[in-house]
């Protein structure tokens, strides 16, 4: 059993702050979107909570991008195309079939690459694709008076509102899958504990770690 220090303190603090903000944003966002339902937050509260959490999420995301650019953590987000398709197939086959046969995990975590191919693609898509779109559309919503009247032939406010809503649903979907996938480590809580302690415990299995370019 190898113990790897994969999650430095700044990353864990950012991760859990992000988690709290995500929950606050989902709860307040749903409360605004479906306002009028009894069990949701009051509209006026939801509006302030959502905007405040959105501002903090923006600051957190900028911090994350800057930290990734300035520390070793950024290397986990460098996509290596060679062998990627094969790794994706192996990973998908494992989740769809191998995991029920208790086969060994096809990917072993290393200090140079902590994500399997599926994880890497989804985190890249979320952190560098969906998150900036979510954040930009959120700010565009607030300052829509400075936007042109139309975007792509539609009213710009509608484009902004729908973009924000679609990306929110996609990120809620990501959160749902993320919460489940973290239970597929060595034990159900192994990955959760790793994000608390910073240390990942890895069986010295036969599979090959993914190399980082």
């Amino acid at each position: 059993m190898t113990s790897l220090y994969l999650y430095p303190l700044w990353l864990r603090v950012w991760h859990w702050a992000n988690a709290v903000l995500f929950l606050a944003l989902i709860l307040s966002g749903v409360s605004m979107h479906y306002s009028g339902t009894d069990w949701l937050m009051p509209f006026a509260t939801a509006r302030v909570v959502h905007n405040t959490a959105g501002i903090l999420l923006t600051i957190g995301w900028i911090g994350f991008v800057v930290a990734n650019a300035r520390t070793d953590n950024g290397r986990h987000y460098h996509l290596k195309l060679r062998g990627l398709i094969g790794q994706l197939i192996a990973q998908t086959r494992y989740y769809a079939y191998g995991i029920f046969r208790l086969e060994p995990h096809p990917f072993h975590v290393s200090e140079t690459m902590k994500f399997n191919a599926l994880q890497q693609l989804s985190y890249l898509g979320v952190m560098y694709g969906l998150m900036p779109v979510l954040i930009l559309s959120g700010w565009a919503f607030l300052y829509s008076v400075y936007l042109p009247e139309t975007l792509f032939g539609f009213g710009s406010l509608w484009v902004v509102a729908m973009t924000h809503t679609v990306v929110s649903y996609l990120l809620a979907l990501f959160l749902l899958v993320h919460l489940y996938i973290i239970t597929t480590g060595e034990t159900v809580f192994a990955n959760l504990l790793a994000m608390i302690t910073g240390r990942h415990h890895e069986d010295d299995g036969p599979s090959t770690p993914r190399e980082n370019p």
């Binding site: 905007n51 995991i99 300052y143 406010l157 509608w158």
Partner: protein, 318 residues
């Protein structure tokens, strides 16, 4: 512009800005300027008080000997005090000949229009007054041959003794009622049940309670347009509002957003955003589809988890 009025406006601007920056406004000390403003306001208040001694009487009126019509001369004291002109002296707008009583029998005819005083207020508006004038000149009120539209002016809709702008935080239904009351002051007959007006409009009464007349009877792209459209040119397309490009919601949101930024500033706007209109991010198809996908994924993950549990249990037994 009369000199005295110009002085009033200048002093009121100073009061409104209230920065206390001595170099910016000359050598006068802030207290001195405050005293001057107070003196002007007090003089205006005294002037209004003198006029309202008679004109606040609700029954003050006379019969026009030429056409026999009753001419109402009463001013609602409360309405005036809450109006945008509530701090002005009456003689700022009305000729000085009205200063004395009895008033002259044949005073010179007066020509009031908003542009005459407000031409230079452009910075306070999204569009300047020249645009508003141009919009009005295109409006049905200006181009109609109908005798009822003869002599139509700003004051036909905007009673200068009552006019005030809607404020952020006022209930939207109240704003709608106040706006529509202006139109209905002339067009009330149109909405009488027996006229069958707007009969094509589904949920007609609900629309009348929640939508301003001008929302359909002005061109869609601008808010607060003064180009009132003729009935046949007005919006009749339901999809213009109830669709992907929901003009009305966008207009309401943009209007309140501008007010929000002007009132609270850019930073506070980011936190409070009072303009948000419930429903503007909703799309029934998108919502249903997204919730179905989320539900299916949840079921799939639950089934996956149960499968893993059963596999582990079977392995443990073996």
């Amino acid at each position: 512009m009369p000199r005295r009025r110009r002085l009033h406006l200048t002093l009121l601007c100073l009061l409104a800005l209230g920065t206390g920056s001595v170099p910016r406004f000359g050598a006068a000390a802030p207290e001195q300027r405050g005293d001057e403003v107070d003196a002007v306001l007090a003089a205006a208040a005294a002037d209004r008080h003198a006029c309202l001694r008679c004109h606040a009487m609700t029954t003050l009126a006379y019969r026009n000997p030429e056409d026999g019509a009753i001419v109402d001369l009463s001013i609602d004291r409360r309405g005036l005090s809450h109006s945008v002109h509530g701090n002005l002296a009456c003689i700022d707008c009305h000729r000085r000949s009205y200063r004395r009583y009895p008033h002259p029998e044949r005073p010179a005819p007066e020509e009031f229009d908003c542009i005459g005083c407000h031409r230079d207020d452009g910075d306070d508006l999204a569009r300047d007054w020249g645009h508003i004038d141009a919009e009005f000149q295109r409006s049905v009120h200006a181009v109609s041959d109908d005798p009822g539209a003869a002599g139509f002016s700003c004051h036909s809709c905007h009673d200068p003794h009552r006019f005030r702008t809607a404020e952020v935080g006022e209930p939207v239904t109240q704003i709608v009622r106040d706006h529509n009351a202006v139109c209905l002051s002339c067009h009330e007959g149109l909405i009488a049940p027996h006229r069958g007006s707007h009969g094509w409009l589904p949920n007609r009464d609900a629309h009348w309670e929640a939508v301003r007349c001008v929302d359909c009877h002005t061109p869609g792209a601008l808010h607060a347009s003064h180009e009132i459209l003729a009935a046949e040119e007005s919006a009749r397309n339901c999809v213009g509002c109830h669709s992907t490009d929901r003009t009305l919601l966008a207009r309401l949101y943009q209007f309140q957003s501008e007010e929000d930024i002007a009132r609270r500033g850019l930073i506070a706007k980011a936190v409070f955003n009072e303009a948000y209109v419930i429903g503007m991010s909703r799309d029934p198809v998108l919502d249903r589809l997204s919730l179905i996908i989320l539900g299916l994924v949840f079921l799939l993950l639950t089934a996956h988890g149960i499968g893993r549990y059963l596999a582990h249990r079977a392995h443990g037994r073996a």
